[in-house]
Amino acid sequence: MTDRPNSLRTGPDDRGHFGAFGGRYVAETLMPLILDLERHYRAAQQDAAFKAEFERLLEHYVGRPSPLWFAERLTANLGGAKIYLKREDLNHTGAHKINNCIGQILLAKRMGKTRIIAETGAGQHGVATATVAALFGLPCTIFMGAVDVARQQPNVFRMKLLGAEVVAVESGAKTLKDAMNEALRHWVANVHDTFYIIGTVAGPHPYPELVRDFQSVIGNEARAQILEAEGRLPDMLIAPVGGGSNAIGLFHPFLDDAGVEIVGVEAAGEGLDKKHAASLAGGRPGILHGNKTYLLQDEDGQITEAHSISAGLDYPGIGPEHAWLHDIGRVRYEPVTDAEALASFQKLTKLEGIIPALESAHAIAAAERIAPTLGKDKLMIVNCSGRGDKDIFTVADALGVEL
């Protein structure tokens, strides 16, 4: 399928570019290492044993395939398109993040690396990384902004229980982008034995490609499941986009299906004219963290702080493949505010008995907006990328409830 002409699924090119985006904008010290990573990844792609081990762990450790749930009461409530939820929230550790971590730690093992590092914002990727590090018996250091450490204590404790060292990053704004800066600084000083498990489809090539490939299990499963349930492809896909790994994982297997409309949902925070995290709607192309993509920045190219009620969407950039899909118009990106996400968080919980992550609640909010405008014969798949247990304190706070 990947050598089909006119396919949108062949990217990136051999230099890691998706159109004008992506690439390898890293310090010279790291360049030989990411070239080495690419060589090992190419070899792994050709290795049936690697694929078999990845699939074994996804099935028996992560608990895949995740169900495709027909949200009957939500559908009836909205009175339009038939809504299916891809239940990534049911994975081990509670979100899609683990799919990628399994793939990358297998690569780390293959490369003979003996230490694992990762960055985390809210702590979900940190927990998933610490989990696979525990499973493989490798020492693990997680970089987390000091502000996030203070507001995400349960996840900090989880990571420590799993045996990880959590480094509170005091530089910059002390949030996710600073954690990523610090992880890069640590990596550059420890390239000989350390593997950096990046948590989203960003960073220097080949990370956006390999994270996408590991997450594509979401879309591949969803495709088979909807064909099984409905006998046809869906009319629309919707997924939340921070860096964009759950979204690209769902979207990628459908990119060449012209009849499938695809919608990515950006976090509009307090509104696009206020503080937000919508890099496509409110940013412009630039270079950060190893790749060229849309970034929130000022006229001098200084990166500005993102804001979203959802810590997982609180990043001033977006994966380069999304930037490209946006520019060519294959995927439509829509903003959803904190308030809309908060309302949908409660609505899905009450109607379906599913507490979604605040990230996923952004996609639910977009579905609420769009589904009533479509006929009842239309099919929609919404990525329920994670569960919302981690968010109950944030939600309680936003609703003025004291726990």
Binding site: A27, E28, T29, G172, N181, R185, E299, G301, I303
Partner: protein
């Protein structure tokens, strides 16, 4: 002869100094570096996300940005420096995004107009040269490339292709201002680089004292010192010129005399 060629043609190793633009009284600090004997000046362009820098230069970036330093301010500082010091080579050092956000041609033209001799961009490796290199070379501004302990023989020709000014050997795999490399590893690396290029080779990262600098100066064409200067500015704020000049002089004396002592 270019300013770089002249600076490195002197019969002694060169002192290459780094400070961050907009951190403290930059004009006075630049004058102090020249007065103290600096041969080449690197002026850091502050960035919100300085991924290759250690704590000292990270803090300098934040101090500068907190004071509202803009790209226009930096070019104004550079142009004024060029007026006062017609012969000292001036390098802008920083990250890709502030350099390319208005387009590489715009940046290269501003550099040329301000009298900037060279540019070091930390996060544009040779693989992404098209992002900035062609514009700089067309504008007559040298692109100064970095070589590191991880730059192997197979990569080195690519790193040198399109490089100008001098070659900056980053002597440790790490970030600025922290650990120092073993002297033997520096000697081996410089010898290897010298067989591959006619460009002068300056060695930096982790060099903080006159003794360290003198040891490196015995084998290299130049020694780069950054975080130690930035620390002085952090301590003295807007009154850093005098201590900067004094420290520059001790480094310059150590570096300039290094090869005479060796012989």
């Amino acid at each position: 002869m270019t300013r770089f060629a002249a600076a490195f043609a002197k019969p002694r190793p060169a002192l290459v100094t780094f400070i961050t633009a907009g951190d403290g009284d930059t004009a006075a600090n630049l004058d102090a570096l020249v007065a103290g004997g600096a041969d080449v000046i690197e002026l850091g362009m502050p960035f919100t996300d300085p991924m290759a820098d250690g704590p000292a230069i990270q803090a300098a970036n934040l101090r500068s940005l907190a004071k509202g330093t803009t790209t226009a301010d930096i070019f104004a500082i550079a142009a004024a420096f060029r007026q006062r010091h017609p012969d000292t080579p001036l390098v802008l050092m920083g990250y890709a995004n502030p350099m390319t956000i208005r387009g590489a041609d715009w940046f290269a033209a501003e550099c040329a107009q301000a009298g900037v001799d060279g540019v070091i961009c930390v996060d544009i490796p040779s693989e992404e040269d098209a992002e900035l290199g062609p514009s700089l070379r067309a504008a007559g501004v040298d692109l100064i490339r970095l070589a590191t302990p991880t730059t192997d023989a197979a990569r080195l020709p690519d790193v040198l292709n399109g490089a100008g000014g001098f070659l900056y050997y980053v002597s440790v795999a790490g970030i600025t201002g922290l650990q120092q490399a073993a002297q033997a590893s520096i000697e081996d690396a410089v010898a290897r680089l010298k067989t591959a290029t006619d460009l002068p080779v300056a060695v930096g990262f982790g060099v903080r004292t006159p003794d360290q600098a003198a040891a490196i100066a015995k084998v290299a064409d130049g020694v780069v010192v950054g975080s130690a200067f930035v620390d002085i500015i952090a301590e003295h704020g807007d009154a850093a010129a005098a201590p900067l000049e004094a420290f520059t002089r001790t480094l310059a004396d150590a570096i300039h005399g290094a090869k005479e002592i060796a012989e």
